[in-house]
Subunit: 337 residues, 2 copies
DNA sequence: TTGAAAGCGCTAACAG
DNA sequence: CTGTTAGCGCTTTCAA
């Protein structure tokens, strides 16, 4: 910048003001123009590191998660966050602690040592967490997790509403009987306080079903993987049950259900309708394509950085992001008796 | 740090040396101990930003890619890079340009303005690229892409060897006839210089097949998606062909092939063996589980940061990372005539 | 409207 | 073995 100032024949101060385009310290148009031209001429780029040392702001956000790779909470969250950050001229330090508390603490330190403006603390699946102590007092937003008593906003998918909407989709197609839920409330690597997604999805669904004069014939509790879907639906059919509609709590369960249904010679949605949750990649390529409640990954990531970059202090509110119904081909009218 | 020095009763210099544990400027054990204790007492953490201003090193790497979210080049690459960086006390700025050259340039600027020590330039699928001009003269490694004439090392999967190994797996199971390749050389959103992965996989395969006295009955050129696999294999069967083994150039193609085979009443691997490439998530959950050549995502990411953090100048070599055979259940002995 | 000067938190010559 | 001093590249009071 000294070079630019010299070339423009002004002081560093003037150059600084001209470059940052501030109006409170007015600079003559002539000086400003000369500075800008010199800067362009020299290919000048400000050293953000040096600026940060004075301003205390690095235009940088830290992102800490327990696991970014694994489904269903993956790259789309990051992509949404990245986009929002890019629009606001911020960069993201992405880190991943792999569920290791010590690593988590050391990552948060690494982030703080680099003077990040704020940090996003994200969980792979929606759950209660207790943030590492080095995050207390920092500007943080919780992504896909809740921490009662920790003073920060949370951004989570609106699972309750998704449960309701899934039930409505079934009702709208005429389903009132022979509805089974696969996956239930539990599932997912044991989280002490229970599985938020499972609980809310089920709660919303049962509420709407009941209001619509329908109900679940049964709820099968199992893990949320393809194998479990296959096994449980096979067992269900083997036991002589003949469901008209399956609510699978995840797309992976749906995939397993498809396999079991196919082997039993039952067609989707002719014999059995299937509605699912998550909208992972496979949902679109399954045959028939799966109707599913979409986890709004990108929007969650986006909202987290939008909140964090808002002026002023952060309110400890819970922001629920809608899970839109992704209509495809797995719901039909109920099969005849 | 001034506080620490004061508390320990030494000068900032002494504190600095003690804290950074350097031996060239020897510090008495007594002083060092006092400094360390004071630092702990005060919960002192160095300001990496300030340090960087002097040392020119930020312990930070920039990662620019055209697309991180989309398969098959996804989170695992980042995870590998993250792990390697973590082990070496570096942090990664992750960015994504979405294939937009202007965005790419501005992201590289943003990275350089923050004085990153180096940048990893990554592509979603293996191809030739021309790096943004702001990267010239910088310390960079190319990930999953090649740029002849650009002075930087590349890290790519060893597709040629993978093609050979796939052919060997088929040969080992006794397949010498009725082998079809689905996907061929082309595929993937048109890249001007051709599809590296497709070409090398095919080349390696044909080489080994020929040497083993076998050959391909046919090569079907199509895009690398599930729908294409379904459509092409359906067409192949409809045309009266009865393949004994299918080489699908991607797992998505395999998934489509499975659907077509299933509809035609053909079983895998009883009637038709399938070998595939990529080892995406679906490979393991398909029934039967898919035998496939694994894209070593994490190792690619890891190697990229290992190279970049090596002392000394970077050699413009091409590093090929092995693609291990992931044996599962889709290869059997050839069906009888 | 502009410039001199101080200083952000740290490191590194250079002297003692 | 340790302290003084300068300065990394920028912003920002304060005075002119």
């Amino acid at each position: 910048m000294a070079d630019v100032a010299r070339m423009a024949g002004v002081s560093p101060t003037t150059a600084s003001f001209a470059l940052s385009g501030r109006t409170d310290m007015r600079i003559s148009d002539a000086s400003r123009a000369r500075v800008l031209e010199a800067a362009k001429e020299l290919g000048y780029r400000p050293n953000v590191t040096a600026r940060s040392l004075r301003t205390k702001s690095t235009q940088t956000i830290g992102f800490v998660s327990d696991m970014i790779t694994t489904t269903p909470f993956a790259g789309d969250v990051i992509r949404g966050a990245l986009e929002a950050a890019y629009e606001r001229d911020h960069l993201l330090f992405i880190t991943e602690a792999g569920g290791d508390r010590a690593a988590e603490a050391s990552l948060v330190h690494a982030l703080l040592d680099r003077q990040v403006d704020a940090v996003i603390y994200a969980a792979m699946f929606t759950r209660y967490i207790t943030p590492p102590k080095e995050l207390y007092g920092q500007r943080v937003v919780l992504l896909n997790c809740l921490a009662p008593g920790f003073d920060a906003p949370s951004v989570v998918p609106d699972e309750l509403q998704a449960g309701r909407d899934a039930a409505r989709a079934l009702l709208a197609a005429g389903h009132t009987k022979g509805i089974w839920a696969i996956g239930g409330h539990l599932a997912v690597p044991a989280s002490p306080e229970g599985n938020i997604a499972g609980n809310e999805r089920m709660r919303g669904m049962e509420e709407v079903l009941r209001a619509g004069g329908a109900r679940l014939d049964g709820v099968i509790e199992c893990d949320w993987n393809t194998q479990d879907g296959y096994r449980e639906v096979s067992a269900l059919l083997a036991a002589g049950h003949r469901p008209r509609a399956l609510v699978c709590l995840t797309d992976r369960l749906s995939m397993g259900a498809y396999q079991a249904l196919g082997e039993a010679g039952l067609s989707v949605p002719g014999d059995v309708s299937v509605i699912s949750f998550d909208d992972q990649d496979i949902a679109a390529v399954l045959r028939p394509a799966l109707t599913t409640m979409q986890l709004p990954h990108a929007r969650l990531g986006r909202l987290a950085v939008e909140l964090i970059l808002r002026q002023g202090p952060l309110e400890a509110a819970v922001h629920r992001v809608a899970m839109p119904l992704q209509e495809r081909d797995s719901i039909g009218t109920p099969a005849a008796e």
